[in-house]
């Protein structure tokens, strides 16, 4: 059953140099409890897409969509304050760099407790004076939100949570900070967790651990995860389904196993060939060229200038999704659609 259905989402940034179309008419679906990957190089628009869904895009960004439906609710029609109750509640986010994503001047416990108060009925005031009082005099320790903060820290595997809850972010290691971020995201018992490169800034040894934790938490809380990453290895380890994004478009979508076994889009093929772990051959072939400047792109398939198979047609005709098998679509003119009863 689908939890999040995005249709025709476009995000543009109006800059002095022109309009940057960071996300270009994209559809995206996440089912309940499912782990979905959103893969792409930096600059592909994957983060912007996720932030557009939850209304985090700021000036000069403009988000338009045919519809964004989350749990039966039209997100694109909510006001900012309605959106706020969802953000950090039913839709939570974890960011890339836990070093800078936690506030250095607020104790970790209070940062988690704040999220608890905002999204649960703890009976504690969340007015500005009440929050400022907590900030200046420290959080009250005999409250529901504080107890919950300790529980959440325990939940994500932080040892001695009742001691560490009073500590500040700088007293935690990188992996521990990311756990704090995750515990904060769990405060509202989210149905959807958007994890934006959650392991990129961490030590390799910690990375696998955090991914494992995310997976088991997803099971435990029946939380769907949208895993945003540039790293196919992360996807291989965690995701059920994968969306591959390039220059503002999703260009291929398939179950994870299928995508690794049978990539169809030339870009996905290139990406796999340049990824060490997913690659079975000895030699790594990075895709030549760079992600294009997204200001006023004039060619139909955004991958055309870098594509080894491009023809003149690719510059004129926008590729639509073609079915490549069960649940597998790719947007490439040079692929013959497979006859399939799905999609």
């Amino acid at each position: 059953m689908s939890l999040l259905t995005v249709k025709g989402l476009t995000t543009e940034f109006h800059t002095r140099r022109g309009v940057v179309t960071a996300v270009d008419d994209v559809d995206l679906t996440v089912n309940r409890g499912e782990l979905v990957g959103l893969v792409g190089e930096s600059g592909s628009g994957k983060t912007v897409l996720a932030e557009s869904v939850v209304g985090l895009v700021e000036e000069p960004g403009v988000v338009t969509a045919d519809s964004i439906v989350f749990d039966g609710q039209r997100l694109d029609q909510l006001t900012e304050s309605e959106m706020r109750t969802l953000r950090g509640g039913k839709i939570a986010m974890v960011f890339q760099d836990p070093m800078t994503s936690l506030n250095p001047t607020i104790s970790t416990g209070e940062q988690i407790a704040e999220a608890v108060r905002l999204h649960n009925d703890t009976g504690e005031s969340i007015s500005l004076p009440a929050e400022l009082k907590r900030k200046i005099f420290g959080a009250a320790k005999d409250t529901e939100s504080w107890r919950r903060a300790i529980e959440l820290l325990e939940e994500v595997g932080i040892p001695e949570p009742s001691v560490r809850v009073t500590e500040y972010p700088h007293e935690f290691s990188g992996g521990m900070r990311q756990r704090v971020m995750i515990s904060m995201a769990l405060a509202g018992e989210p149905d959807l967790l958007i994890a934006d490169e959650p392991t990129t800034a961490l030590d390799v040894t910690v990375q696998a651990q955090i991914l494992e934790d995310l997976k088991s938490l997803s099971q435990e809380f029946d939380t769907a995860i949208l895993m945003i990453t540039h790293d196919l290895a992360v996807v291989a380890e965690t995701c059920d389904r994968v969306n591959v994004m390039y220059a503002g478009n999703i260009i291929e979508r398939a179950p994870a196993d299928e995508l690794f076994a049978n990539p169809q889009h030339p870009y996905t093929q290139g990406l796999l060939a340049s990824t060490p772990r997913a690659n079975k051959r000895r030699k790594l072939d990075p895709i030549p060229g760079n992600v294009p400047d997204l200001t006023n792109i004039s060619y139909a398939c955004h991958f055309a200038p870098r594509c080894p198979e491009s023809t003149a047609e690719c510059y004129d005709v926008e590729p639509e999704f073609r079915s490549m098998g069960p649940d597998h679509v790719a947007a490439c003119l040079q692929r013959d659609p497979e006859v399939s009863d799905r999609e």
């Binding site: 985090l56 953000r87 001047t105 704040e114």
Partner: protein
């Protein structure tokens, strides 16, 4: 923490000693003879000699230096050559005036600068921002004494609202005191506030772009709580640095402004003593000013520990 404060105070005393030494030798390197200045060109050599002996100025330099240091150790600044009387009582009369002006300037500057900086940052490129920026550039481009003259002309002469001359001690009441010092206080507070406000604005804008502010948004925290709970304290850390450094500006401003307003503070005392070659007084004034700056620095450092949990003096520093 206690160890740290003790260390800071010891360091402060060292700085004071350094200042005292430099001032002592520096002043004596300036050509001219205080005793001759004092007695006038017609004085006989005998008269000059005897006065010199009386003041201890006939002693070799190192003896004078040791005398001066032993006096200092007992908080004695010697006697004024031209005005008679102990330097310490001259300082005790003058310092409160200058400090009062500086204090009013500090309070005035801060209470304008912080809200204006916040307003300017949160309404970036809007009317409020441009207005605040314009005023702060005015404040920055005019020296304090000039603002003092303008204020005196407008509020003292044209509108005749506030006194523009003299000083009323706080012992005669808070409001008369405040009234006598309001214009000079504003005059030094404006340039100070202008700098602090610019810093507050840029610091807050920078903090607003920090990833943890996005975390707060993603958490569902509303705009005002984000600003005052999540951003303000972080933004204040660099502001405190600037505000501390600029205390020197505040003092320099008071010294010139008090002359505009005919207040016999440290500035007047300093200028007079230099013109008269009144060594002990000059030394005393400079030491008092240096002492104030050293003290401010200690206060600023302690403020850091309050504002930034990453800084813990005395233990390991991260």
């Amino acid at each position: 923490m206690k160890a740290y404060i003790a260390k800071r105070i010891a360091y402060g005393i060292f700085v004071m000693w350094l200042v005292a030494t430099v001032v002592f030798f520096g002043l004596r390197a300036i050509p001219g003879d205080p005793v001759r200045t004092m007695l006038g060109p017609e004085a006989t050599d005998d008269a000059v000699q005897s006065l010199r002996a009386e003041l201890g100025l006939d002693q070799p330099m190192h003896v004078q230096y040791i005398d001066w240091m032993t006096d200092l150790a007992m908080f004695e600044f010697g006697r004024s050559i031209t005005k008679g009387g102990p330097v310490s009582s001259l300082l005790a009369d003058a310092a409160p005036m200058t400090l009062s002006i500086g204090l009013i300037g500090l309070v005035f500057g801060m209470s304008i600068a912080i809200p204006a900086g916040i307003l300017s940052a949160t309404r970036k490129y809007e009317v409020e921002d441009y207005a605040a920026t314009f005023i702060s550039f005015m404040g920055l481009s005019m020296p304090a004494f000039f603002i003092g003259i303008l204020l005196a002309v407008v509020f003292g002469v044209w509108i005749d609202l506030l006194p523009i001359f003299g000083y009323v001690s706080i012992t005669e009441g808070f409001f008369p005191w405040l009234e006598s010092l309001l214009l000079p206080g504003i005059a030094v507070g404006l340039p100070y506030g202008a700098i602090v406000m610019r810093m507050m604005r840029s610091s807050l804008l920078e903090v607003m772009n920090e990833p943890y502010m996005k975390t707060a948004r993603a958490k569902g925290v509303n705009g005002r709580v984000r600003l005052y709970k999540h951003a303000a304290q972080n933004a204040l850390i660099p502001v405190v640095t600037i505000a501390g450094i600029q205390t020197a500006l505040l003092l320099a401003g008071s010294v010139t402004v008090e002359i505009v307003f005919g207040i016999q503070g440290l500035g007047q005392l300093l200028v007079d003593s230099i013109l008269d070659k009144d060594y002990p007084v000059t030394q005393g004034v400079i030491l008092v000013v240096a002492g104030i700056l050293v003290f401010t620095n200690i206060v600023v450092d302690l403020l850091y520990t309050v504002l930034d949990p990453r800084i813990r003096y005395g233990g390991e520093q991260t």
